[in-house]
Symmetry: C2
Subunit: 369 residues, 2 copies
């Protein structure tokens, strides 16, 4: 194998495929990046057996072939090469010679034969979505998944496609995050559970541009994202997602309109007084047109008042401030609506069109607060 490419093109591609290199593995071949120039394109490939990435590097192939090189060493070297043409050449015994200007590296590689190349999947009826929308919808929901591997379903997000609606749903037992967007074309109805890890990694690779698109293909077991010169292939989580639609009632006893920024800063200050060990809730005391936010812990006490617009009954309700903060951080609206039923029922933050719904369970507060 002998290939030549530009250092920055190579570095961009290496940074993309690094996302599927496992940090811990007992199979050392998975710690490698495959440089594959057996075909007409130079491809870099990585695979941690859940998530696999393949990307094409612009460049020229003088001699076909392939090699596996330790991803960390290879990426460190490429990052520090001068900004110029890089030549990568396979020598005897998988020694890989990397040349750039007056710099000559010889690194031990290994055969790519043992490497689990990404399986071919059938590409039919893609869903097309802008990179911007996919990246946003992930950011706005993925914090609500659970990191408890004992409940596999909760570590993923439900992608629910119905005609030209895409609804994304994440939950962890204390809260639910839902975002809905319109797709340009009608699609077959489909429900799949995508691992949270896949979504986190892919959102780091996506450009986030409105005019760049991603094609999404699915099979029973896999989801494939195709964009730019890259494909990301991930296993799906098997099983049925939770039925949550009956929880999404729109009845309420109390509705408030509040300035999001003021509310968020106030909760942010309140959370300073909480030690991980005591987990005290914050109290929202809604009375007339004022929300009084209170907390009282070993460290100290905080009391703040925020003007609101109230519709319905007064209410006093407690929350884990983290769950409120997580939701508030990803809402772009300046003024938001919160809906309450009573101090033991979930609170909803949602917009009129229900493009976003954040459901948060309250914490039981006793008279002591």
């Amino acid at each position: 194998m002998k290939i030549t490419c530009n250092k920055n093109d190579l570095l961009n591609s290496v940074n993309i495929v690094l996302k599927a290199v496992p940090s811990k593995t007992s199979m050392s071949i998975l710690e490698c990046i495959i440089i594959d120039a057996t075909d007409d394109n130079i491809r870099l490939i990585t695979n941690d057996m859940e998530l696999g990435i393949e990307t094409i590097v612009k460049g020229s192939i003088t001699e076909k072939g392939s090699v596996a090189i330790n991803a960390k060493i290879f990426s460190d070297i490429v990052r520090r090469l001068p900004d110029n043409e890089v030549t990568i050449e396979l020598k005897d015994n998988y020694v890989t010679k990397i040349t750039c200007e007056k710099s000559k590296f010889n690194i031990s590689g290994s055969s790519s034969e043992e490497f689990p190349y990404l399986p071919e999947i059938e590409k039919e009826k893609p869903i097309t979505i802008s990179q911007f929308s996919l990246k946003e919808i992930i950011r706005q929901t993925v914090f609500s998944i659970s990191d408890n591997e004992n409940n596999k379903i909760m570590t993923g997000e439900l992608f629910e496609i119905s005609k030209n609606d895409l609804r994304v749903l994440a939950l962890d037992g204390h809260r639910i995050a839902i975002r809905k967007i319109k797709l340009k074309e009608e699609n077959d109805d489909n429900k799949i559970i995508v691992p949270g890890k896949t979504l986190n990694e892919i959102s780091k690779i996506l450009s986030g541009e409105i005019d760049d698109f991603v094609k999404i293909f699915t099979t029973d077991k896999h989801i494939l994202f195709e964009f730019d010169d890259t494909i990301v292939l991930s296993r799906l989580i098997e099983g049925d997602f939770y039925k949550i639609d009956q929880m999404l009632s729109t009845d309420y006893e109390t509705k408030i309109k509040i300035n999001k920024r003021e509310f968020q800063n106030s909760i942010d200050r309140a959370s300073l007084l909480i030690r991980d060990s005591d987990r005290k809730p914050i109290i929202l005391d809604i009375n007339n047109n004022v929300l009084e936010l209170k907390i009282n812990t070993e460290i100290g006490a905080l009391n703040e008042k925020i003007d609101i617009e109230l519709e319905g009954k007064d209410i006093k309700i407690g929350f884990n401030p983290k769950f409120l903060l997580d939701a508030l951080r990803v809402i772009d609206d300046e003024i938001i609506d919160l809906y309450f039923i009573n101090a033991k029922a979930p609170c909803f933050i949602r917009d009129k069109e229900q493009l976003y719904i954040y459901l948060i369970l309250p914490v039981n507060i006793n008279a002591g607060y």
Copy 2:
């Protein structure tokens, strides 16, 4: 006590005094910031018993008094307050009420009586130096101190004052870093050893402006830096510093002129091939007007050539690349001079006026490389 000040002024002062809050201590009072308004000024004070900082916050005192508040909690709160006037008021039992706009914190504080206030030292004959020069001279030498507490002297830097010369010296047994600057005024001869930790912390506080000055006072046991509205007081390290002047011979057998950036990048790449466990040296093979940089480790091999100007004999010599890199990073010259005697004697990087001298011991290399 009742004081009022601007949030940003308060935050700046808190950030300054935080540098002398110990991360680990058995005396919980040392984890506090003292707010002292017993006098005409609002002063914040911290002290880890080696290093103490006192700074004045602009503001008004309505009621005199003082209190000790946990530094972490206080700084977290101040950081998150709205950008407005902050009122701090001492209530019963050292409860401290912090009010800003509609936000009211009540935090438990404690008496400042147990706190070790900074000792008064005699302020005579200050040395005056620009904040820029002090910050630079620290940055350019402090990496060469040792972090081995068993040899206390090596954890500090020698400040040597002779008339209007200030020479700063750091060494760790493998290398020596020396910088010299001219002071504006003549001073009494003096030699003191300043703890490296003090220098690291003070260089984070210094503005780095050429037109801002620091006054330095010393006694037998202390050094005091006075600048802006701040004083930093540190214990000195007691004992005699190493005599190193006889090592600073200017004889040489080989002198090269090399482009600093090229040399540094090349060593940087070479160090990628070194695992902490093997500690292989890099080889500089100087031959005619070429420096060939070589390294050969378990990970791989690197070979680079750099054009140089050679005066004297060819030489082949090995180094720990870290020691070369540390020195090269803080030299601003584009072209630098290296001086060698033989493969077992130290190498010198120095400018003509000897404003900087970096001495680095070589690593013994055998024929195997």
